[in-house]
Symmetry: C2
Subunit: 347 residues, 2 copies
DNA sequence: CTGAAAGCGCTAACAC
DNA sequence: GTGTTAGCGCTTTCAG
């Protein structure tokens, strides 16, 4: 069997005894091509199973229509809904998405970013790994003129647009809700140090306590199911007095919930629990978990929109004198308190 | 600000007053380059922040080192673990992954496949959408000489390697397990018609009943949390006698579980329930859900390995006479019965 | 309305 | 060891 190559524009041109440029124009619906030849070209393209070579096109146009997304992990519901949100607006502009997971490893994040630079993505959307402390890889991307948009987990060290959740406010409301339910000994199971989102949620927790004149606070870093379970199990075994738990995410809250139940505590009567994120499992567990909902979809849409806006600004100001540099935006996604049985004492 | 372009090989060559080919060779560690010039080139590349243009390289080499993955949805734990498995072996060979979600829509699947063809991916891994009945898009990919590997959801209409779960066996064991627990009225909440995996699981269910001389069988298509909930709720409301439920996946089983509990049924005493897939939520719900575990990671590894094998065969037989065509493989991933409280009557 | 020619950045013969 | 040249497939001036 002959190793037939992919059909190219030149093949179509040869078959029709016309020039490649005419074919190229016809294929992209360019004006100035007679309907007659256009029809012929389209027919021949169909006949020969022509599939435009995006790689060649990208090289020629120095635009790949590819967006690179770097995030800690796609298995997390919040992140995958963000991706859906990005896709929702980006795909309408014919952009395609390439996703790279850092799994919270700095090295993987750097590799992914560098690969994206090499592949000349048109934009880079990133939620930084908890390990990340250096930002040289992002500086490189900026040197390569790739617009960056941060989402959820960001840094001040890089000038770029960002979309963040109002973590402080969400945490404040979550904690205040527990207080209104009568809780006085509220534990906060926190996210890793150094991440803005962890810090903001912890701050919201502390300030809600302060507002309500509660002196006692306990913050323990603990951000997954197992850690939530172990931490609360340990505390309860030590005889610690706990009547409320605010966890940095739902998985952790559910781990804590299990520890409470195993220790014979009634939820929410003995201990009221609230998570963060409104993961679908929150509705499935028993009792259903109260939580702070944050729209990942909306966040994704905002990310893509900010990118599009920046691109547009670049185009508009291209080849112009006294260019006003693009003003980076920060968009804040608001949260919503979702009260379910795990914290509802009907007070 | 001057719109500086990305550094190219030519820039390095010019700066060093040598030829681009020498630079190219040095950068790729090609032999036949003196250590001295090599060192100079590497230093200059570093200095100028050189990032190789993968797009140009791909065009030139007609190899993109990109793998296209089409799957129904990444939010499903099973699929995201498959992606991790693929990444595990593919990344060691320097391949990068592009993921497209079909969301079970035929149109989106076709679009994604065509985009992958246009982007000249080196391989296409696909788990077909439940809607998919036509396979022209995959024929196109084959015409473009892109090796295809199916995983989980496949078709016989396309000649290609595939990796599947032993769904029949898993379903058989799940059903037989319910029978050994004393169940006689077992409902099967099934997947959509026309999907091999649904059919095989239903077949396993039926044959287990037959083996144990149980005449009554009930198969209802119902494959997500809400449908599982509604179906069982409806059946119970009608007074249907049910003492066992085998669901096509864990979400559905959990929906069914909720309906049972709401109807006052004790699990597993009144109704024993088993799911399929061993989704992490299976451990979180109460009672913990029995299920059939299938290793997505292993499946992903197998997918990538079969691709690599096929590529190797192509290289080995290139430019040779009387070529033996590659023999497509089918790899079967075995399942494991995981007994938890939702079905364990301690019999 | 169509064609010729150049070039995006890289690599691989083929020279020397 | 290194340079010259051509070309991957496409688009885009510039001519006509």
């Amino acid at each position: 069997m002959i190793d037939e190559k992919q059909t190219t524009i030149k093949d179509i041109a040869d078959a029709l005894k016309i020039s490649p440029s005419t074919v190229s124009r016809a294929l992209r619906n360019h004006a100035d091509i007679s309907d007659d030849t256009k029809k012929k070209i389209l027919a021949k393209a169909e006949e020969l199973d022509y599939q435009p070579n995006i790689v060649a096109k990208s090289l020629r146009n120095s635009q790949t229509f590819t967006l690179g997304i770097v995030l800690p992990s796609v298995v997390h519901h919040f992140f995958s809904t963000i991706v859906s949100g990005i896709e929702d607006v980006a795909s309408k502009q014919k952009y395609r998405l390439v996703i790279a997971q850092s799994n919270e490893f700095f090295e993987k994040e750097v590799d992914s970013v560098e690969a994206f630079i090499g592949n000349r993505v048109d934009g880079l959307f990133i939620s930084i790994a908890s390990q990340t402390k250096s930002y040289k890889h992002l500086v490189k991307a900026q040197k390569s003129k790739i617009p960056i948009v941060f989402f959820d987990r960001e840094t001040d060290e890089i000038q770029a647009s960002k979309v963040i959740v109002d973590d402080y406010e969400g945490a404040f409301h979550a904690t205040e809700h527990l207080i209104t339910q009568g809780c006085k000994n509220i534990i906060h199971l926190a996210g890793p140090d150094g991440l803005h989102i962890s810090e903001n949620r912890s701050r919201g927790y502390l300030e809600a306590l302060t507002k309500h004149n509660i002196q006692k606070n306990t913050i323990i870093v603990s951000d997954n199911f197992d850690k939530g379970y172990e931490t609360i199990k340990g505390l309860l075994a030590k005889g610690e007095v706990i009547d409320g738990i605010f966890a940095v995410n739902d998985d952790t809250a559910i781990g804590a919930m299990r520890a409470c139940k195993q220790a014979g505590k009634i939820i929410p009567t003995d201990i009221a629990i609230i998570g963060f994120g409104d993961n679908p499992v929150a509705q499935i567990v028993e009792p259903p978990l109260s939580t702070i909902s944050q729209s990942g979809f909306e966040m994704g849409q905002a990310v893509a929109s900010l990118f599009l806006e920046q691109i547009k600004h670049q185009k508009d100001t291209k080849n112009k004198d006294n260019v006003i540099p693009y003003q980076f935006q920060t968009k804040i996604i608001t949260t919503k308190l979702v009260i379910r049985d795990s914290s509802n004492r009907n007070i």
